[in-house]
Each structure stands twice: as C-alpha cells, then as structure tokens.
C-alpha cells in the first residue's frame, strides 16, 4: 500500500512538473524586452520555440498543447514585420499539425477567417496559404481539402497552384489563376470550397490594390475568376461581397487613387456580371397596383 501511494505521488509530481514546463513556455513566448518599449524579447521567445520544436511526446487532449497552438496562431498573425518570430511560429504550427490531427480543424477555421480578412497583410496570408498547401497533402477527411487536392502537383512544382500563387513574381500568380480557372471548367469546385478558399484568394488581388500593397491588376484573369466564382454563391454571400465593394466605391470618407477606383469599378462590374438569380418568380409575387 505504501509503495502504491509512493507511485501515485511520484506520478502526480511528474505530471505537475510537465504542466509547469508548458506554462513557463507560454510566459517565455510572450516575453517583452524590459529595456525597449514595445519590443519583444527575441532571445527568450526564440529559445522557447526551439525547446518546443524538440518535443517528442504530443497529446492533443491536453489543454497545454492547445494553448501553445493558439499562441502560435497569434504570433503568426501579429508578427507582420518580425520575420524570425513568424518563421518559428510557422515551423511550430507545422509540427503540431503533423503530430495532432485534432488541431487541423481549428487551423482550417483560422485559415478561412484569415483569408476573408481584407486587412490582413499579404505576408501573413501567404504563410496561411503555405500551411493550407501542406495540410492538403496530409489531410484525408476534409471534403474541401480533398476538393483542393487537384490543384497540387508534387511532380512538377511549376504546375502547382499553391507554388505559383505564393510566388514573388506577379505573372506567376496570374498563371496560377489561369490554371485555377481551367481546373474549374474541367470539373467545378464545390461551392463551399469556392466560398471559403478560392473566392477569398481571388479577392485578395483586389484587396491588395485597395490597401496600396500592390500595383494595378493588368490581367483580366482576376476579374474573370471573380465572375466565375461569384456565380456559385447563394444570395446572401453574393449580396455581401457586392455590398462590400460597392460601398467602397461610393465611400466618401476614404479617397482612392484613380488606379484603385478603376480596380474597384472592374470588381463591382465583374460581380454584377455574375448575377445568376431568377427574379421572375419574385416579381410575380408582388401585387401590381
């Protein structure tokens, strides 16, 4: 009996010791430099990331892992200019997604909301897309990801949609959209894939111009894809995206350059071209005076 108690006590102590280690890592990952205002403590944060990357045992049921994962997501989104922190957070996300399948759905939700976030910087969006690309390779159950699988090409990176859409050269990104359109014409993508992933990716081209991150869009493929995918939306989503861009066009509080106005006009026009709702029945239901 005494041996049993000793065993239980030792087990409890090991458990507490691990728990404290994880909590300490959370503190380290959020450390600030005491000598510089608003400056992260890079030394402490990066050391902690290295320790986490050396972990051998993973347990997706433990909240400590989930906390760390959410912390990585925060770092990925907030470290817009801190390349080192973003890289380490990204590496840790990769590790956790590979080892713990339960976290994949959490990450996918985050990808969806991040892609729809119009104010997200292109660097962070590219990081999310890079993770999405790796997740497509390993995930076997999610239907949206299975649908996106045909955009991958592991044999020839030149033909891989994700490889091209993340490319630094703009013509390679337009090439990715051309391949996307061809793929959709061969076999249409599911509407949820379009709504959650493909349309936000296409819209990001327009959003980058509006955020003054990129120059004018000199290829019609962006607007063709926009029309193509908007035709797949239900009324509420269609109306939402139309209102979003149309309101900006008529927004008096923010002034746009001529290039931005041109881009907005083309965008609104492309969405209107995609109007696919049969309004005859609706009209007939209204009483005519």
């Amino acid at each position: 009996m005494r041996k049993f108690r000793f065993f239980v006590r030792r087990k409890r102590k090991t458990f507490l010791f691990r728990q404290i280690w994880f909590l300490e890592q959370l503190i380290e990952l959020n450390a600030w430099n005491p000598n510089q205002v608003d400056e992260p403590d890079y030394q402490r944060r990066l050391t902690s990331y290295r320790k986490i990357c050396e972990l051998n045992e993973f347990d997706e049921e433990k909240n400590e892992f989930l906390c760390l994962f959410h912390n990585f997501l925060y770092e990925l989104k907030s470290s817009v200019k801190d390349l080192s922190l973003r890289e380490y957070a990204s590496q840790s996300i990769d590790l956790f997604l590979n080892k713990m399948t339960k976290f994949r759905s959490i990450f996918l939700n985050e990808v969806r909301s991040s892609l729809k976030n119009t104010s997200l910087s292109s660097e962070v969006r590219h990081e999310f897309l890079r993770h999405l690309s790796s997740l497509i390779e390993i995930e076997q159950e999610n239907e949206d990801l299975l649908d996106l699988k045909r955009l991958k090409n592991s044999k020839d990176p030149e033909l891989d949609f994700f490889n091209n859409i993340l490319h630094v050269q703009i013509h390679r990104r337009f090439r990715a959209l051309r391949r996307l359109k061809l793929n959709d014409e061969e076999k249409p993508f599911r509407s949820s894939t379009v709504e959650h992933f493909l349309l936000p990716i296409v819209c990001s081209f327009v959003n980058d111009v509006l955020a003054e991150e990129k120059q004018e869009i000199h290829d019609e493929i962006v607007f063709q894809c926009l029309t193509n995918f908007s035709q797949r939306l239900n009324w509420s989503k269609f109306n939402e995206i139309f209102q979003f861009y149309f309101r900006q066009l008529t927004n008096e509080t923010r002034s746009f350059t001529l290039l931005q106005k041109r881009c907005l006009t083309k965008t609104v026009s492309s969405i209107i071209d995609a109007f696919h709702f049969d309004i005859r029945q609706e009209q007939s239901s209204f009483p005519i005076d």
Partner: protein
Amino acid sequence: MSIRDYTSCFLFLADDPLICDENERLLNYLKQISISMIDSKNSMSLTEKEFEILLVLTRKPSTIAMTEELSSIFVRLLRQNVLTKKKKKSSSKSELVLSILSILENLFRQIENPFEKHFKEFPILFSKIVEREQRINLMKVVQVFIDRSSQENSE
C-alpha cells in the same frame, strides 16, 4: 425583497449583516445570468450595476466555495467579452478585459487547484486576446497557475 430591489440597495449596504446573509442568493442570480450569457452567444452582458456588485462580492468572499463561484463567473465574463464579435471595439471594453484579468489573478491565488478547474476555458484566449496590455495581464494569470502548481508540487 425581490432580487432587483436587493441589487439596487446592495452597493450601499454591502457590509450590513442583514445583506450579507443574502450574498449567496445574489451570487446564484449572477451565476445564472453569466451562464445564459454564454449559452445565448450574443453580445448580452451583465449590466453595469450587476458588474459593480460582482466587484463588491469579490472584495470580501465569505467562503472558498463563493470564491470559486466568483472565479467561474469572471472566467465566463472574460470569454464572453473576448469572443463575442462586436463591430466597434471600444476602449471601455478593453479596460473591462484588463480588469477581469486582474481580478482573476487575485481570485486564482485564493482557490485550490485553479489549473484543473479553469485552465480548460483559456486556450482560445491565447489567440483571441491581441492587445499588448491584455496579453501582459493574461501572462500574469498564467504565472498564478504556475505558482499554485509549484506550491502543490512542493507539498
């Protein structure tokens, strides 16, 4: 006396022995509100007066059970304030989150094993709390979890 009459005079008579006996009833009422607030998933929240009463109760919790109940209510309040989507982020909301985190830091020091009781509610907050000051306060709460676990480990 109805709960509404009671809450209206509570702030002035918090230390009165006649009122103190009713604290549990009041706490139960606030607990119900905080639970329905989470269930409804909308921006419903405690009124200003109800929040003030919570603060007064936090000042002098009579039993450990009461402190634990208060901790649960504040954790729910924190999640509700951080997770509900509001179009405009007001500075008062930001200050409220800061205050709740400070209160939780104090309450968790007084209860036994706060990690096992409340840590499961925290993971999502590590990505949703983004303001620097709020994150610093969140880390203070994590430090309390560490201190309490270390304390248990040394016993």
